[in-house]
């Protein structure tokens, strides 16, 4: 190999950079966030399920909220019929956060994990914050 030392330094850098995820992975203990479903409202539920099936909620809750916002604010329709026929009030604070009143141990924990920061709470009230 010609200019061996320079090439090796370059290749070493290449190796360090492409393996960055592995270096940063050292010390990571939990692979998944711990979601807390233990709230008074959920404890009272006979059938412990969300508005839509859990898988759908995990994938599409942001789209559902957007649909709710649109139908409530723009069409004036404040009710949402879920796929199992139950009718819910289409409201972020009064519905989602009624059951999931532990926002910081539920919504926030998962959002920190996925590095998303919805800015809803600059306007909407967080039930935990209201107790202050």
């Amino acid at each position: 190999m010609y200019n061996g030392s320079k090439v090796l330094v370059g290749l070493g850098l290449f190796f360090l950079i492409v393996t960055v995820p592995f270096w940063l992975g050292f010390g990571t203990e939990e692979l998944a966030p711990e979601l807390d479903l233990d709230t008074p409202a959920i404890a009272q539920l006979a059938d412990k399920k969300c508005i839509e099936p859990t898988g759908v909620m995990r994938e599409e809750h942001m789209q559902l909220l957007e649909q709710w916002r649109d139908q409530a604010v723009r069409m004036g329709n404040r009710y949402y019929e879920a796929s199992d026929g139950t009718v819910y009030q289409a409201s972020l604070q009064n519905t989602c956060l009624d059951c999931h009143s532990n926002k910081s141990d539920f919504c926030d924990r998962c959002h920190d994990y996925g590095k998303v920061s919805p800015d809803c709470w600059t306007c909407h009230l967080d039930p935990e914050g209201m107790e202050l």
Binding site: M1, Y2, V7, G25, A32, Q63, Y113
Partner: protein, 329 residues
């Protein structure tokens, strides 16, 4: 024809994970293939570079633009034709970060009346730059899936890229740029007859592959949502060597991941190696100090020299006899 072949290959590659998920091979698609592809990428890349570095550079290539450093009263061009290592680093950095030599691109045309014209042509530079920077930013953004907690810089870059909104979500500028750039780079090869003539499957295929990866990614982000939290679990498992395959991840994610695996495994064998190759280009990495430092061609085989002194020693008597003047009596 080349387009058709690469398109077909890409479609087959999209079909593989669909069939794989249907057959229940999530573990292979989500764990085995990513590790294998990553290994092929890293080892293949290194071997390729070592092989390149093992071939000699016979000449000092001075054919770069700009005046070579010369007499003190002639202005040398320090970046285009550097004579020092620092200058070479500067030229390389400009090339890698700004595609400086592409910026010089001009369109040459011979007009019917026999006039030759050079036109300013910056589109290739612009879209090339957009593509590569988007790729880099998208790659860094993806670190949010592989790290917990996510490094500050990754989150910062993401919020910058996601300045605009698509509904409640961030709309990434790089998503738009990469699609525009890939479309341009593809159309360029199809529309310009000269380029079409020299384009091979190996030119179209990487474009289709990147296009497929970008399309599935964009679909997952804005249209057919996937369970990001479970996907992060899979990615974190990959990065910490504790592989898991959570339930309920959509097929579209496996298509995305499979195409990325193909890209990684294909990389060392393709023209995409220009990523490493640029650093080994003699016109970019050799300082032009050929008047100051002798460049020895490593090819030179040892030449047996027979000096005049030896010659005279050998033939002195015959030379003297023939009346030819000699140096030593």
């Amino acid at each position: 024809m080349a387009i058709l072949i690469s398109l077909l290959v890409t479609l087959v590659l999209v079909a593989v994970p669909i069939l794989g998920v249907a057959a229940g091979a999530e573990y292979v698609l989500g764990v085995v293939l990513p590790y294998l592809a990553f290994l092929v990428f890293v080892v293949g890349f290194i071997l390729r570079v070592v092989r390149w570095a093992s071939s000699p550079v016979p000449f000092h290539i001075t054919l770069t633009g700009g005046q070579q450093r010369s007499l003190s009263w002639i202005k040398g061009s320090k970046l285009d034709n550097p004579s020092t290592t620092l200058g070479v680093v500067g030229r390389m950095a400009l090339e890698v970060l700004c595609f400086r030599s592409l910026f010089r691109n001009v369109k040459t045309e011979l007009h019917p009346e026999g006039k030759l014209s050079y036109r300013w042509e910056k589109w290739l530079w612009l879209f090339g730059l957009a593509l590569h920077w988007s790729l880099l930013i998208i790659l860094i953004r993806h670190l949010r899936f592989f790290t917990e907690p996510v490094p500050f810089l990754v989150g910062w870059l993401e919020s910058l890229d996601g300045l605009f909104r698509f509904g409640y979500q961030a709309f990434y500028i790089t998503d738009l740029l990469i699609v525009l750039a890939l479309t341009f780079l593809f159309l360029r090869r199809v529309v310009v007859a000269r380029l079409k003539y020299i384009s091979l499957s190996a030119d179209y295929f990487p474009l289709f592959l990147l296009g497929g990866i970008a399309t599935t990614g964009i679909l997952m982000k804005y249209v057919s949502k996937v369970d990001i939290a479970s996907i992060k679990e899979l990615a974190l498992g990959f990065a910490t060597f504790r592989p898991v395959v959570p339930e309920g991840i959509g097929t579209i994610f496996y298509i995305h991941l499979f195409l990325v695996c193909v890209l990684m495994a294909y990389f060392p064998f393709s023209k995409l190696m220009h990523m490493g190759g640029i650093f080994l280009s003699p016109t970019r990495n050799l300082a032009n100090n050929s008047r100051a430092v002798r460049h020895v061609n490593p090819w030179n085989y040892p030449v047996d020299v027979h000096t005049y002194e030896e010659y005279e020693d050998e033939f002195r008597e015959k030379m003297v006899a023939a009346g030819i003047p000699v140096e030593k009596g």
